[in-house]
């Protein structure tokens, strides 16, 4: 047994910071929820939540906003994880969007995301009366996120006003909200993509197999590889899916998430690839390319 305390490396400090934030939320809010998007950041968030409240289970439910266009492997992983850990998992889908057959092809990624993700999230938060929602956003992901608070205040309409955020000093988070208002909480704000991968490696955290390279059926569109995850993907005339060794750097709706060609089939290889990568993580997310400042606009509308 060590007689001197553990050294607080940067990863240990980031871990402790996230645990502190999660405990604050559990203690101060009446009805918090953790948004669970099944991606690697969500895997890390879940792992941190297990640590924060041990030996108790995380004292809040986990919620997945399902657009119905997620990779099948994601849903499988989600259900296995919830069963293995005995989590209270809520899956929410915008039924109105489903009824109107809202999809990324006919409506475009912007409208689709707005209805099936942003509106769906607002619906679910209102329906369950959650006053705090954990999200796995990081400040290094995108420029407008660099200014996001850890506790991001939202109006009763789930709106975000960058001019009206509360100053955030030390570790003293102002958790007070009026009925209907809520706070989005980002415990891993200060992590970078490398930190996430390194932590997954260090803590041996399970992640969706789609992050690892494997031969998968893909088609090339606009210079990016799109996986044909099911027969809902309309093929252009003459377009034939080909089997390529690919993997995903971020996960989301399969028609909107580009794969990268890769042979990296171990965590070490993924990290190695990441270290030499010359394109930023979010470039695999097609929604950011729609227009300049698009993430900021989505945030104002209530997207994470």
């Amino acid at each position: 047994m060590p007689v001197t305390p553990e050294r607080m490396t940067h990863l240990k400090r980031l871990e402790a910071e996230a645990i502190f934030i999660m405990r604050e939320v559990a203690a101060e809010f009446k009805n918090p929820v953790m948004l669970y998007s099944i991606g690697k950041d969500s895997s890390v968030m879940l792992h941190l939540a297990l640590k924060a409240f041990y030996p108790s289970k995380p004292p809040f439910p986990f919620m997945h906003v399902n657009t119905t266009w997620k990779f099948r492997e994601m849903i499988r992983f989600r259900d296995e994880t919830a069963a293995r850990l005995g989590l209270n998992l809520i899956s929410h889908t915008n039924q109105e969007g489903v009824a109107n057959n809202v999809n990324p092809f006919d409506h475009g990624s912007s409208v689709f995301t707005n209805i099936m993700k942003t509106d769906a999230l607002k619906q679910a938060l209102t329906e369950h009366g959650f006053d705090a929602a954990f999200g796995g956003a990081r400040r290094d992901e995108e420029k407008s996120r660099a200014k996001e608070r850890i506790f991001s205040f939202r109006t009763a309409n789930h709106g975000w006003d960058p001019k009206n955020q509360r100053p955030e000093l030390w570790n003293l988070y102002n958790a007070r909200v009026k009925p209907g208002e809520s706070i989005r909480v980002f415990p891993i704000s200060n992590w970078t993509e490398l930190d996430i991968w390194q932590y997954i490696l260090m803590e041996n955290i399970p992640i969706v197999p789609l992050y690892f390279a494997k031969k998968r059926p893909v088609v090339q569109r606009g210079g990016q590889w799109i996986m044909v995850d099911d027969d809902r993907l309309p093929l252009n005339p003459g377009e034939v899916p080909e089997m390529k060794s690919v993997r995903f750097r971020t996960l989301g709706d399969y028609p909107l998430t580009a794969a990268v060609e890769s042979e990296a089939d171990t965590l070490e290889a993924i990290v190695a690839e990441m270290l030499v990568a010359r394109t930023s993580e979010r470039s695999g997310r097609l929604i950011d390319h729609d227009e300049a400042g698009s993430m900021e606009k989505k945030k104002r509308e209530g997207y994470f």
């Binding site: 060590p2 305390p5 490396t9 645990i19 108790s56 660099a146 200014k147 100053p167 570790n171 900021e296």
Partner: protein, 643 residues
């Protein structure tokens, strides 16, 4: 990460080594502050660019934006990398704190990029609150500006001990050593009292990268480290683990009836199973049973670690309590003096009730006094009645209940607080405790079961009921009022139950039949018993005509807790005074069951005091009551009382 490591990273062995190195890095959080055009965003863009953290797609996007909004001609404008929000991208200024991340082979860095505008000083304080070091930018062409002074003041106010003076745009001054030396001398002249432990001045050009990461051949006269070299090596005193142990309890961990743990992050110090600990506020002590974490129980834990403590004894601990070791406790007080930074458009007005969050505790509080505000530009102390946005002041604060804290200078987490509006819930300000204000601060609470005696002791009095009885209009309430005022002025805690007032509320269902009169007195006796239990000197001003009921009240209370005071005024005198015009009505038969007229008054046989209102004034009689209490030891803290 540098290029060679990245190239080698494909080699698994090199990768494992790289990761091992990266894993062991520590973290330095710093902020950059400077005026609008000092080149702050360019400097951070340069840091990200030089440490290879800009991806190709980001670079392509900036190249595109540079042509649209850029301010540096055909070059890539690195500032565009970091100016995040659309609005400010168009205005060319930074309007909020942004956090940036970069890493070198030695350390990982989190940069708080804070705005230089005067109206956004609060954001600078925000960035500074979580930083160990400040990079203060100075435009070599302009030298020390008012804003430089303000930023340095706020940096020192927030307790930052390490400062880098980045003399930027030195390229525009022909890389002149004279210019640099003069700026450094000017800076040292005014910053001498700011308590900075290290002050490293570096001449640089963020635009061209001189002395940022790489050394510059244009500055041969400068022998010191480059900015990155300094950031990588500066020794920040992180040794909070050597300070006294403090754990602010965030969450009581109760998965089942067999486990009760206290979760929180250690603010300072080190803890081991078997250590004697106590709850600062209640003084209750116990011993650490285990340090529980998801990764197993620990043999030792120190500052910065998020843990769950279990204790040997079942003692009352809840969120907001501070656990310390028994040999070094934090201060406990309900008043302190603090530095306050006001961050709201809504003025601070002393006396108004606010909320204060300190650690995991949120309490009602008010600023009782603004001692003075400090001009952040000249550092002069000025008188102030209110505080406006971005003003800094020394204030006294009173809390509704005592809290445990340490001075901010000793322990940031234990001495920092934020001020929250009770209605809007907005964060209005931030403060740093200097010291507690009561002498009692260092006289620690002993573990006692709180009871009548402890409550009374806290108030410096022996609780009792002063039971004023007598005819209607005899002068009971007049005298009781005077007595209460005198006791209050002596610092005692009192309450007056007046017959008429109680009949408007608690006893409004009762009339004046004998049965109702008995019930009236029974209820009042029970209420005064509760008040005595609460530690109060309770004054009861009731006609209470029947001996039996007064006896019942006497028996309900403990020995020496019932002081019967007979306000003796003959019927003919009260009838002549008839202050409320009741005797006339009673004589006319308009009021039935009126004491003294058609309902009996049974005068006390052995009252503790008899007050004869025909020979002395109410003032004299009130003095007599207080003197009786002093003589009989009811007023413990009033030895100075003289008649």
């Amino acid at each position: 990460m540098n290029t060679t490591v990245m190239e080698d990273a494909l080699d698994t062995k090199a990768l494992v080594e790289y990761l091992a190195t990266h894993e062991k890095k520590d973290l330095l959080r710093f902020l950059t502050c400077g005026s609008v055009d000092d080149g702050k965003s360019t400097l951070i863009g340069r840091l990200l660019y030089d440490t290879k953290l800009i991806f190709e797609d980001q670079l392509a996007s900036i190249e595109k934006d540079s042509k649209k909004h850029g301010t540096v001609g055909d070059d890539i404008d690195l500032a565009l990398l970091v100016d995040g929000l659309q609005a400010e991208r168009e205005q060319g200024i930074t309007i909020d704190v942004a956090y940036r991340f970069f890493t070198t082979d030695k350390r990982k860095f989190i940069v708080a990029d804070t705005p230089g505008h005067e109206q956004y000083t609060r954001n600078m304080a925000t960035g500074a609150s979580n930083s160990d070091l400040a990079v203060i930018l100075i435009d070599a062409r302009k030298g020390i500006l008012t804003q430089t002074r303000r930023h340095s003041f706020i940096v020192s106010l927030l307790g930052i001990k390490h400062v880098v003076l980045a003399v930027n745009k030195i390229d525009l001054m022909d890389y002149s050593q004279d210019v640099f030396d003069k700026i450094v001398a000017d800076y040292k002249a005014f910053a001498a009292d700011f308590g900075f432990e290290t002050l490293q001045a570096i001449p640089m050009s963020a635009r061209y990268g001189d002395n940022v990461l790489g050394r510059s051949d244009k500055l041969p006269w400068y022998q010191g480290p480059t900015l990155v070299e300094h950031l990588e090596t500066v020794q920040i005193d992180q040794d909070l683990s050597q300070k006294p142990f403090r754990l602010q309890v965030q969450w009581v961990n109760r998965p089942d009836l067999n486990f009760r743990g206290f979760s929180g992050t250690i603010s300072s110090g080190t803890i081991r199973p078997g250590d004697d600990v106590l709850v600062a506020k209640s003084g209750k002590s116990s011993r650490v049973k285990a340090i529980v974490t998801y990764d197993g129980d620990l043999a030792v834990a120190a500052a910065g670690q998020a843990i769950t403590l279990t204790l040997e004894d079942e003692i009352d601990i809840s969120r907001g309590d501070v656990i310390s070791t028994t040999d070094n406790r934090p201060e406990v007080s309900d008043q302190f003096q603090a530095r306050l930074i006001w961050m709201s458009e809504q003025e601070l007005i002393p006396g108004r009730t606010l909320l204060i969050k300190i650690g995991a505790k949120t309490v009602s509080a008010s600023v009782t006094e603004i001692k003075h505000k400090t001009d952040v530009n000249t550092f002069a102390d000025l008188a102030a009645k209110t505080l406006k946005l971005n003003e800094v002041a020394l204030v006294n604060i009173a809390l509704q209940e005592p809290v445990a804290f340490d001075p901010y200078a000793d322990n940031h987490e234990m001495g920092a607080f934020i001020v929250i509006d009770r209605v809007s819930n907005l964060t209005l300000g931030a403060g740093m405790i200097e010291h507690g204000l009561r002498r009692a601060t260092n006289v620690h609470w002993q573990a006692l079961d709180v009871n009548k005696a402890t409550r009374a002791a806290a108030k410096g009095q022996k609780p009792a009921v002063l039971w004023f009885t007598g005819l209607s209009g005899a002068g009971k309430s007049t005298i009781a009022n005077l007595v209460e005022k005198k006791l209050l002025s002596l610092g005692h805690h009192t309450y007056l139950l007046d017959g008429d007032n109680v009949r408007h509320g608690l006893n409004k269902d009762l009339g004046f039949t004998d049965a109702d009169r008995v019930e009236n007195i029974r209820r009042v006796a029970e209420v005064s018993k509760l008040m005595v239990d609460a530690g109060l000197v309770t004054l009861v001003s009731f006609i209470s005509p029947f001996r039996a009921e007064r006896q019942m009240a006497r028996e309900l209370l403990g020995e020496n807790e019932f002081i019967e005071i007979y306000v003796s005024t003959p019927l003919d005198v009260v009838e002549k005074r008839d202050v409320k015009g009741l005797y006339v009505k009673a004589r006319a038969g308009e009021i039935r069951n009126f004491t003294g007229i058609d309902s009996p008054y049974e005068a006390p046989e052995n009252p503790e005091l008899t007050l004869d209102t025909t020979s002395q004034t109410p003032e004299q009689l009130a003095e007599k009551v207080v003197l009786f209490m002093v003589k009989n030891g009811y007023l413990i803290s009033a030895p100075e009382y003289q008649i």
